[in-house]
Symmetry: C2
Subunit: 215 residues, 2 copies
Amino acid sequence: MQAYTSSRISLSPHLAQPALPATLGSGPVQPISFFPAGSEIYAQGEKAGAFYQVEFGAVRIYRLLADGRRQISAFHLAGETFGFEAGATHHFFAEAINATGVRVFRLNAGADMSHQLLPLALKGLTRAQEHLLVLGRQNAIERVAAFLVDMVERQGGLRQVELPMSRMDIGDYLGLTIETVSRVFTRLKDKGVIRLLNLRSVEILKQDVLQTMGE
Amino acid sequence: MQAYTSSRISLSPHLAQPALPATLGSGPVQPISFFPAGSEIYAQGEKAGAFYQVEFGAVRIYRLLADGRRQISAFHLAGETFGFEAGATHHFFAEAINATGVRVFRLNAGADMSHQLLPLALKGLTRAQEHLLVLGRQNAIERVAAFLVDMVERQGGLRQVELPMSRMDIGDYLGLTIETVSRVFTRLKDKGVIRLLNLRSVEILKQDVLQTMGE
DNA sequence: CGCCATATTGAAATTCATCAAATGCGGTGG
DNA sequence: CCACCGCATTTGATGAATTTCAATATGGCG
């Protein structure tokens, strides 16, 4: 875990979500680590013992098969937390998608954080199970629609959505190839449901249609 | 939630796993509810406020799309716990697969169960995320192999595995149709990897091959 | 022993992946 | 500021895997 810890990081002025509940934010200020695009935050098999809050940037959590196939189980945007796991070691990889600042909360043996962690773990569990429905039972266009709706909601419901991740990341999150993801974007564009402002930002023209597609 | 609570249930003498940690089992004995095959334990939208331990039988947790497509996110066998969720209401359905006895632990507002629940939630989270890899990135035969390996492990690694659920349940768990599940079973049989003793029990002839397929 | 639901098998259709080529965006340097 | 370069993305053609539709077989239970 090669972190570029810095004390003079300029934090993003526009966090997508409020910070953690006051109970977590109180006490001594936690250090912020900076990770360049593509760098590893932790690896599968590594010792766990901390959890993380994204200050700015975006993080992908994933797992690999022996032959290199990758499944991204979650993206984490500014304000969101990740990294708490069962057992002493990480079961997944965490990487910065682009330049990312992360606040690290070390779990020291003494303090009991169950109260804070349980709601986060339960929320993560619900998200993962909902994602199972998408991967198990929805077709390509429904998957992309569900993904876009989710991103809209996590970015405050604005018409314009930023996609910090590549098409490959989106594919590996949705269980599709990049070609299929690209074709679906084109189809949604042709239907007048979305508009591609540039590769990384989408304008939602028909939120209701998208909503219905993603169920 | 139509439970047939009974005080004279004969518990299965062979729980697949030990009961909950002593911290949960201590205190007043929790009531056991009996659910016939196919009956609902709780429904999506229903008020939460308890968690459950399977005493005997098996439970499926699932979610539905508007058009009836179903994704089973988890099966729970004897000894396993389920039902804790984020928020005040259930996001999923829980049904008894066959005649099932469930020990109900009500969460009363006073007592704090974070310590007991957090490890369970984290374990569930890990399981769900691993299942995401299966649904997102593995083909039909790999999915069935992963499923069988999981069932073997949860039943103590014996050569003979009991499958309490139907092919339809397995399909809805693996994101496949019943026909595909059936064909894969046949293929595994023809390859000499498994032997179908009857519809609900499988003998594992080549555990290593299965293990490798399921990654 | 026979019935009926569940499961298996078969053939055709569909969706998505793969392989391949072209486009274009974003960043760099002149 | 503009042109160029490299890489991500898009688009196209083909193929493979899985679904769908349909028929048959099986076996669990009365």
